[in-house]
C-alpha cells in the first residue's frame, strides 16, 4: 500500500502541475512547478504584506514579528515540536472533513463530536489506564472515541438519509447539544474531586501516549499521518472511495447507478465523525490527560477553509495544516514579543485564507466553479443546476 500511496503522491503533484499549466496556457511545463509554487506562496505573501501595514500602523516592526513566528514555530527546537503536536488532531479532523465533504455531506458538527469524545476519553481514561496495560487502554479509549464521534453523527446522518433533512442545521444543532452534554458529563459523573474548576481526573503525565524517541511529540502524529494517507488512498484508489465521490459529485447519478445513498450517507457521515473522535482521543491522550468543562479549542473553523483550499485532497492538506500550525504556535510567541494580543494572529490567518481564494482566482481556477464540488453545492442549494 505504501508503494501505491507514494506513486499517488507523485501523480497528485503531477496533476497539480498539469492543472496549473492548463490554467495558464502557454506556460511551459518546465516552469509550471514554479507557477504552482507561486500560487501556494503568493497569498501568504499578500496576507503578510497587509498585516505588515497593520503592524506598522500599530507601531510594531513587522519583520521582527514574522521572524518571531518562523523562528519559534519552525526553527526552535521546542517550537517545532509544539507545531508538530498541534498538527496531530488537525490532520485527523481534516481527514474527517474530507471524507464527509467528498461525499456531499456538510459535517458542521465536528466540535460536538470532538468534545463529546474528548469528555468520554478523559472520563474513562484515568481509571482504565490505571487498571489495564497502557497499550490496551489506549486502544480501548481510541475505539471508544471513534464510536462516540461516529455515533454522534447518527442523528443527522439518519435524518439526511431518510428524510433528506438538511444536515447543516441538524449537525450544528447536534454540536450545541454535544458541547453541553460533554459539559454535563464533566461536571457530573466524570468530575474530579480534587480540583476547584470542574474537570475530569488527570491521566498522569508519564502515562500519556508514548513519545517519538528523542522528542516530546506523541505518536498520535504518526497515527494522524497514517490516517491522512489512508484517506487519500481510499478516496482515490478504492471502490468505496469512488462511491463516496460519485455520491458527492452527483447524488442523482449515484442513485441511478444503483449505489445505496442512505447507506453511503450514513457510513460517510459516521466515518467523518469517527475521525473527529479519534482526533479528540489523540489530543486528550497525547497532550492534555484530562478535559476541563467548557474546554473548546475550536479547531473546526479554520480547518473548513484549509480543507477547501486543499481542494478536498488529503495529501494537499498536510502542508496547509502544517503551515497553519506554525502560524498558530509561532504566533503566540510573536504576539507576546510584540506586546500584541494573541487575537492578532486571527487577523493574519483570516487574511491568508482570503488571499488564498484570490490567487485561486488569478490562476483561473474559479472558471471551474470554485472549491466546492458540484454535489456539495447541490447539497447546499438542493436541486440546483448541473455543471
Amino acid at each position: 500500500m505504501v508503494a501505491t500511496v507514494v506513486t499517488d503522491v507523485v501523480s497528485t503533484s503531477r496533476a497539480v502541475v498539469r492543472g496549473a499549466s492548463a490554467a495558464k496556457a502557454g506556460t511551459s511545463a518546465r516552469w509550471a512547478w514554479l507557477w504552482s509554487l507561486g500560487q501556494a506562496i503568493g497569498p501568504i505573501l499578500l496576507a503578510l504584506l497587509v498585516s505588515a501595514a497593520l503592524l506598522l500602523a500599530l507601531g510594531k516592526n513587522p519583520l521582527t514579528f514574522y521572524r518571531d513566528i518562523v523562528s519559534q514555530g519552525l526553527f526552535n527546537k521546542g517550537g517545532i515540536q509544539d507545531t508538530a503536536i498541534r498538527m496531530a488532531p488537525l490532520l485527523l479532523m481534516a481527514s474527517g472533513l474530507i471524507v464527509a465533504f467528498r461525499a456531499n455531506i456538510w459535517n458542521i458538527g465536528g466540535d460536538g463530536q470532538f468534545l463529546l469524545a474528548a469528555a468520554l476519553v478523559a472520563g474513562a481514561g484515568p481509571p482504565l489506564i490505571g487498571a489495564l496495560p497502557n497499550a490496551l487502554a489506549f486502544v480501548i479509549l481510541c475505539v471508544t472515541a471513534v464510536v462516540v464521534g461516529g455515533g454522534w453523527t447518527v442523528v443527522p446522518a439518519y435524518l439526511k438519509a431518510r428524510y433528506g433533512l438538511n444536515e447543516i442545521i441538524t449537525s450544528l444543532m447536534m454540536t450545541f447539544v454535544g458541547v453541553n452534554f460533554a459539559n454535563l458529563l464533566i461536571k457530573g459523573p466524570f468530575r474530579s474531586t480534587t480540583t476547584q474548576v470542574p474537570q475530569t481526573d488527570v491521566i498522569p503525565f508519564k502515562e500519556l501516549l508514548p513519545r517519538i524517541p528523542g522528542t516530546r511529540i506523541h505518536v498520535g502524529l504518526v497515527l494522524a499521518l497514517i490516517a491522512v494517507f489512508a484517506v487519500h488512498y481510499v478516496m482515490t484508489r478504492t471502490a468505496f472511495g469512488l462511491k463516496l465521490r460519485v455520491l458527492g459529485a452527483n447524488p442523482r447519478a449515484a442513485a441511478h447507478a444503483g449505489l445505496s445513498i442512505p447507506r453511503l450517507t450514513i457510513v460517510g457521515f459516521m466515518l467523518s465523525g469517527a475521525f473527529m473522535g479519534l482526533a479528540a482521543a489523540v489530543e486528550v491522550l497525547g497532550v492534555w490527560g484530562y478535559v476541563r468543562a467548557d474546554w473548546n479549542p475550536n479547531f473546526g473553523l479554520p480547518l473548513f477553509a484549509l480543507v477547501f483550499l486543499a481542494r478536498l485532497n488529503a495529501l494537499a492538506v498536510i502542508p496547509l495544516v502544517g503551515f497553519y500550525a506554525v502560524i498558530s504556535m509561532g504566533g503566540h510567541f510573536a504576539a507576546r514579543q510584540a506586546a500584541l494580543p494573541d487575537d492578532f494572529m486571527l487577523m493574519i490567518v483570516g487574511l491568508i485564507l482570503l488571499f488564498m481564494t484570490l490567487t485561486e482566482y488569478l490562476a483561473g481556477r474559479s472558471e471551474r466553479g470554485g472549491y466546492l464540488s458540484a454535489g456539495l453545492k447541490k447539497a447546499l442549494g438542493k436541486g440546483g443546476g448541473d455543471e
Partner: protein, 552 residues
C-alpha cells in the same frame, strides 16, 4: 460573405444574399434586416464556436438555423442575446452597429430569446416568471402583469393559471410561457433555440401556428432545430452552420421555389458534406413518415412483465396507475404520450429508482419488485435515462469511470475493492471506439463532452455487458440528425440481432413509429391502448395520446 465554405455553396449563398430587401412576406417591416451579424467569431478554449459568421435576419420572416451538435448555433444566438461577447465581427440592429454587452441591452434592442435550456424558475409562478426583470417601479405591478398576460394568452390562444408554479406546468406550456417571456417587453426579434426538442407533435403544431402568427405580425423569428421537416415547414430562410461556419444559406426565393426534396438534399448536403448520401434512406429524410412494418412472428418468451404497476404521484407529477405491459425477447415496444404523462415515473419504477405502491414487475419470469437498482442491473435490466447530465453521468469524473459507473467494485475493474486501471482503460477504449464517442481520451472529464457524446457514453454503458431488457427514455432528444440516426440504428440492431428487448419511451412520435413493433400509449399515468405498428397507425395513436378510448 466570403468564408471557407465549399465553392458550390458559396456561389449559392452570395447569389441569395444579394437579393436582400426584396423579400416576400416582409410586407409590414422596414426595409433591411432586423438583425445582422457580420464576420462574427467566437472561440472557447480549444474550440472555435463561431468562425466569421455572417447572416441577416429579416422582419416578417422565419429564419431556420440548422447544424450538428456543437456547430455553434447556440453560441451565435447567445451573442445576439448578450450572453456572450463576440471575439470579433459586428452586430447590426436595424442597420446600426450595436454592442450587445448584456441581456438587458438585447432586450432594449427588441431581441427576445427563448434559450435552449429553460430559464423559467420552477418555484416561481407563471406571472412571477414573466414579470421578472420588468422592474420599472418599486412595487410589483401584479394587475398590469395580469392584464398583459391576458392579452398574450388571447393572441396566442393559450390557457394558463397565472398563479401556478412553473414547475407544475407541462413542458409544452412551459415552452409557451418562455415565448411570452421573450415577447413580454415588446420584442421585434424572437430567437427560439431548439424549442421543439421536448415537445409532442401537438405541441409542435401549436408552436408552429404561434410562430407563423408572429411572423405575420412582422417579427423576425430565428428558429433553431435539428428536425429537417420543421425547417422545411416553417422556414422562409434556411441557414446551415457547420464547425462554426455558415456552409449554406437559402432565402425565400430559393426555399419557396425548390421542391421539398430538393431543399432537403441541399440541406443534408451542406450539413454533413459529401458522405451524406447514407442518410437518404432514413425516415426523417424520406418525404413524410410512413412507419416501418411491424415485425411479425415474435413468439418469443416474455422477458419483462408489468402487472398492475402503480406509482404514487409526487408533487407536480401524475404517477402511474395499474400499468400492464409485456415485453418479449427481441421486441421493441414503443411508449408514446405527451410528456409529463408518467413516462419518467414508469421508466424509474422499472429501473428500481422509484418505489411501487402496487403491482408486480417480473424479469424473465421472476419478480424483481423487491430488487434494488443494482440488483436489477446485474440481472440485465438497463435504463437509458433522459437526463444525461443530471443523473446519467458524473461530469467531474473521467469518461472511463463514467463508462463503468454502474459496475463500481465489480470484477474485473476492481479487485478486492482496489481499482484496476488497466482493465477500466481497456474496456473504456473499446467502448469509445465501438460507440464512436468523440473525446480526447478516456481520461477526459466527462462534463466537457458535448450533449451528443454524453448520450453516447450513456448508451455505451447501458448497452454493453450483456443487457437483456433496456428501457430507453427519449434516447435521441437534442441530438443532431446524424447522431439520432446512429442511435436508432443501434437500438434496432440490438433488438434484431441480440434479442435485446426494448421499452422505447419517447415523446417523438416519429421515432416511435420508426422503431417500434408495438406501441403503447400513456395518458395521465395509464395505458390507454396498445396497438401494433402499421402504416397509418399514427392517427389512432394520436387519439389515444389525448386520452381516447381504451384500445385493445
Amino acid at each position: 460573405m466570403t468564408n471557407g465554405t465549399p465553392t458550390h455553396i458559396e456561389t449559392m449563398t452570395s447569389d441569395l444574399l444579394q437579393a436582400d430587401g426584396v423579400r416576400a412576406g416582409a410586407t409590414a417591416g422596414p426595409i433591411g434586416p432586423a438583425v445582422e451579424v457580420r464576420e462574427v467569431s467566437k472561440a472557447f478554449p480549444g474550440v472555435v464556436a463561431n468562425d466569421r459568421v455572417s447572416l441577416a435576419f429579416h422582419h416578417g420572416e422565419v429564419h431556420c438555423v440548422l447544424g450538428e451538435n456543437g456547430a455553434g448555433k447556440s453560441t451565435l444566438m447567445n451573442i445576439l442575446s448578450g450572453m456572450y461577447k463576440p471575439d470579433s465581427g459586428a452586430v447590426m440592429v436595424e442597420g446600426r452597429e450595436v454592442t450587445i454587452d448584456s441581456p438587458r441591452r438585447a432586450i432594449e434592442l427588441g431581441i427576445g430569446t427563448v434559450y435552449q435550456h429553460p430559464t423559467l424558475i420552477p418555484v416561481f409562478t407563471v406571472l412571477e416568471n414573466l414579470m421578472l426583470g420588468e422592474g420599472v417601479g418599486v412595487r410589483l405591478d401584479v394587475e398590469g402583469g395580469l392584464r398583459a398576460l391576458d392579452r398574450f394568452a388571447k393572441t396566442l390562444g393559450l390557457e394558463v393559471d397565472p398563479h401556478a408554479p412553473a414547475s407544475r406546468l407541462a413542458l409544452g406550456q412551459q415552452q409557451q410561457i418562455e415565448i411570452i417571456k421573450a415577447l413580454w417587453s415588446g420584442s421585434k426579434v424572437l430567437i427560439l433555440d431548439e424549442p421543439t426538442s421536448m415537445l409532442t407533435p401537438q405541441g409542435i403544431e401549436e408552436l408552429e401556428k404561434v410562430i407563423s402568427q408572429l411572423r405575420d405580425e412582422g417579427l423576425a423569428v430565428i428558429f433553431i432545430t435539428h428536425k429537417l421537416h420543421e425547417a422545411l415547414d416553417l422556414g422562409d430562410t434556411v441557414s446551415i452552420l457547420r464547425g462554426g461556419r455558415v456552409v449554406g444559406s437559402w432565402g425565400p426565393d430559393v426555399v419557396k421555389t425548390k421542391s421539398r426534396s430538393e431543399m432537403q438534399a441541399l440541406i443534408v448536403g451542406a450539413m454533413f458534406g459529401e458522405g451524406a448520401g447514407s442518410l437518404e434512406d432514413v425516415a426523417e429524410v424520406r418525404d413524410g413518415v410512413t412507419g416501418r412494418a411491424r415485425r411479425r412472428g415474435l413468439p418469443n418468451e416474455p422477458v419483462l412483465e408489468l402487472v398492475k404497476v402503480s406509482v404514487e404521484a409526487l408533487r407536480g407529477e401524475v404517477g402511474v396507475h395499474e400499468v400492464d405491459l409485456t415485453l418479449r425477447r427481441g421486441e421493441i415496444l414503443g411508449v408514446a404520450g405527451v410528456d409529463g404523462n408518467g413516462q419518467r415515473e414508469l421508466a424509474e419504477v422499472i429501473a428500481g429508482q422509484r418505489s411501487m405502491v402496487g403491482g408486480d414487475i417480473r424479469l424473465c419470469g421472476e419478480s424483481i419488485a423487491r430488487a434494488g437498482v443494482g440488483r436489477r442491473q446485474s440481472l440485465g435490466l438497463r435504463y437509458v435515462t433522459d437526463d444525461r447530465i443530471g443523473e446519467g453521468t458524473v461530469g467531474t469524473l473521467s469518461v472511463g469511470l463514467n463508462l463503468v459507473l454502474k459496475r463500481i467494485g465489480e470484477e474485473p475493474f476492481w479487485r478486492g475493492g482496489r481499482i484496476r486501471e488497466e482493465a477500466i482503460d481497456q474496456a473504456a477504449c473499446d467502448l469509445v471506439e465501438g460507440f464512436d464517442i468523440r473525446t480526447p481520451g478516456t481520461e477526459t472529464r466527462c462534463g466537457t463532452l458535448s450533449g451528443g457524446n454524453l448520450q453516447k457514453v450513456v448508451l455505451a454503458r447501458e448497452l454493453s455487458f450483456d443487457p437483456k431488457v433496456v428501457v430507453y427514455n427519449k434516447p435521441t432528444y437534442g441530438l443532431d440528425l446524424k447522431t439520432t440516426l446512429a442511435v436508432r440504428d443501434r437500438i434496432r440492431d440490438l433488438a434484431e440481432s441480440a434479442g435485446v428487448a426494448a421499452l422505447l419511451i419517447s415523446t417523438d412520435l416519429e421515432e416511435i413509429l420508426d422503431l417500434s413493433d408495438r406501441i403503447a400509449v400513456l395518458f395521465r399515468g395509464r395505458i390507454t391502448g396498445i396497438v401494433d405498428n402499421a402504416p397509418g397507425v399514427e392517427r389512432h395513436v394520436g387519439e389515444l395520446m389525448l386520452g381516447g378510448d381504451r384500445g385493445d
